[in-house]
């Protein structure tokens, strides 16, 4: 992905359902991206500021309104270096709760986030968006801005339903579904229901990344350690799975051929949502 004439990609972790592991995935993928040599920016778009907390940065945005509406230098001024080489953070704070309503007031609102991020594509190889659980205008801004929309799905009935709704929404609104990829998160392999749900969803929906993130204590304790899993528990199973997930994401973003790339399992798009 790194090139001499840098044109960074935008990877968004999104789901309209909360508690599915978006922030955990965003933090670990951003860390692994930076560790692989890509200059990476992670943007915390969630007023809960969990990503900001994970990186031990104070949840405060200077001139928040200007950041959200004008972008440019006001965004650059807010970017903080993390403890990890090549990984910067745009922190969140409570004022972000106004973001959807502020976006509603500007022209070409759905393109706003993309326009704000565009100048930073020259500086970063990868921009990771950690989005809140939302179905507001902000969600549509994220769909427009992202080159790849990564959706963590807990293999449960409600999460499956939420995922079906999301895909239906994307199709009806005419968004490019080719950039939407799902992966299973918080998987408990011993649970038969999880196994069955995963199988059913894989058959029903296209484009799943093969890596599955387990529900483990290591992942849970990330909040205590306030560090990405590969730093805190480099040999943990969950760390290995996040590494696999990163390889698959990087492969997709590099545009590797799904037919020949062993990492990427591509499914034919079925008309399942009509």
């Amino acid at each position: 992905m790194a090139g001499e004439s840098r044109r960074g990609r935008v990877l968004a972790l999104y789901h309209l359902k909360g508690g599915v592991g978006k922030t955990t995935a965003a933090v670990n993928l951003a860390y692994l991206s930076a560790a692989s040599g890509l200059k990476t920016l992670i943007c915390d778009l969630d007023p809960q500021s969990s990503t900001t907390y994970f990186f031990r940065v104070k949840p405060a945005l200077k001139h928040a309104r200007r950041v959200l509406l004008k972008g440019g230098a006001s965004v650059a001024d807010n970017i903080k270096g993390t403890d990890y080489e090549g990984l910067d953070l745009l922190p969140a704070d409570w004022s972000l709760r106004h973001l959807p309503s502020l976006l509603g007031r500007v022209k070409r609102s759905k393109r706003r986030l993309r326009e704000i991020l565009d100048p930073f594509r020259g500086e970063y190889d990868l921009i990771v968006l950690d989005s809140p659980a939302t179905a507001t205008l902000l969600a549509e801004c994220i769909f427009v801005a992202a080159d790849m929309l990564l959706v963590p799905v807990v293999p449960s009935t409600l999460a499956a339903r939420a995922y079906a709704n999301l895909r239906l929404f994307l199709r009806r609104k005419g968004y490019d579904e080719a950039k939407v990829w799902g992966f299973f998160s918080m998987v408990e392999a011993r649970k038969k229901m999880h196994q069955a749900t995963m199988q059913a969803m894989r058959e029903q929906f296209p484009q799943w990344l093969p890596a599955t993130i387990p529900y483990t204590v290591d992942v849970e304790s990330m909040g205590l350690a306030r560090a990405p899993l590969p730093v805190r528990s480099p040999r943990a199973v969950a760390t290995r799975r996040f590494r696999e997930l990163w390889e698959q994401v990087a492969g997709r973003m590099d545009g590797r051929d799904p037919e020949t790339d062993p990492w990427v399992r591509s499914f034919p798009v079925r008309e399942v949502l009509e």
Partner: protein, 519 residues
Amino acid sequence: MKSPAASPLVEQSFLVPSGEAGRGVLCDLRRTFALSEDGRSRVETLYHDTFDGRLFARSRALRLAQGELTLECLDSPHEVACVAFDGSPEFADGLPPGALREALRPLTGNRALLPLFSIRSDVRAWCLTNREQKTVLRLALLDEEAASGGRSERLDHRVVVRQVRGYKKAFREVCEWLARQGVEPEANSRFGEGLKALDLDPVRMTTLPRTPLSASMSAADAVRAVLHAQYRVARANEEGIRNDTDAEFLHDFRVAVRRARSFLGQLRDVFEPAPAAELRKSLSRLGRSTNALRDLDVYLEHRKEYQALLSDPLAGDLTPLFDHGARARAAVQREVTAVMRSAAYGDALERWRTCVEEEAGLPPGRYGSEPLAEVVGARVARKCRTVLEQGYAIPENADPDALHSLRIECKQLRYLTEILAELSPEVRGVVSRLKKLQDALGRIQDLTVHEARTGEFARALSEGGGGAALPAAEVLVSRMRAERDRECAKVRGLFVKFSRSLRETEPPYSLLLPWLLPL
């Protein structure tokens, strides 16, 4: 939308005094800011340049460290271009496509990139954290050693303070604290420090004498210094020729020999005629012994260009022809290497050394004590007149043989004019015009020689049963002729420009005005 401000890496290097005082400062620094250890590592940085320091001459340094090849600017320190790279760089053309290759190509041409020196850094990393245990500043303590050709020198200790983005205050506080302790910010680049410690001069192979020439210098002293510079260049290129790393080593060796021979021939009576003639003869033999290898080098350098003159599949049919050329070159290279090991070669170089280092080897002649400007000026005027006479006589459809004689005259004039340009910079315009004319004449000569060479190789292949290349070679020869005719047609125009440049130049060229026809 307004672009965000660029976020360059903000860092400041400080040179820490060696010994007890320096250690005390570092202990205080660590205690005052409660810095915590953040790991140790060793980094090897290898700097490269062409053997004649082309990058350094343009304030650039090429460094290879931690799998990255980076071209840095030395004037206003910044990275020009960078690429992930394994192994050792050889030629700009061999680098991965991208900004670095494009930036290097015009600087190094077809010169090989050779290791200049290395810096081994033992790095101790420290960091400063805030109340949240978040890193807000990074420091690195570097214990470094520069090495080149089996020699190594320790460099001053360095502390590099690097700002973590968004945490300016910590950076400012530490920098101010160090300044208060009398620790100086580093003024030179690491590259400069390494050069200084090892006493290296990347532009060591200059064809100009180490002492600047002046108009009033005695001709014998000045020409001897110029001959000495050529001797140094020749010696500096010998190893490269033997190792066969880069065809340019041989080229520069030959140019140095040719220049020296030309000065001895043109500036007669500056030295005693008999030893000067002996040295000239000896240099002539040196030059001749490498003619065949240089011819083949130039022929093979044009391989891509000549193949591009033909369309497929004929272009592909030329491959055996050039492969045959490469084999012939390898054989000639072995011969040259053997010559360079011979006693006769050693004697020739020793004679050259004696002549330039000991006055008794080449005693001053009739004009030896005359001022340099007068001796060279008079000779330039005469040579210029010859060139003008031959140039004005160029017909519209000039014959390559006639142009060859003009080329030799131009070459000799250029070497002399380059000495003059050292004395009066306004003559440099003439040198560049002369070079353009000379380049065109050189191309005509190359095409003439290569035409014959192509025919010769094609016949050799055909006799050996490889007749497939013959038709392609015939087409190539006809294209070469057409190309040569086009070049011949350009010569007159270039000559006119050159003669005009003489009009615009101050003496001694104004002395030639009577010969400058109104073209």
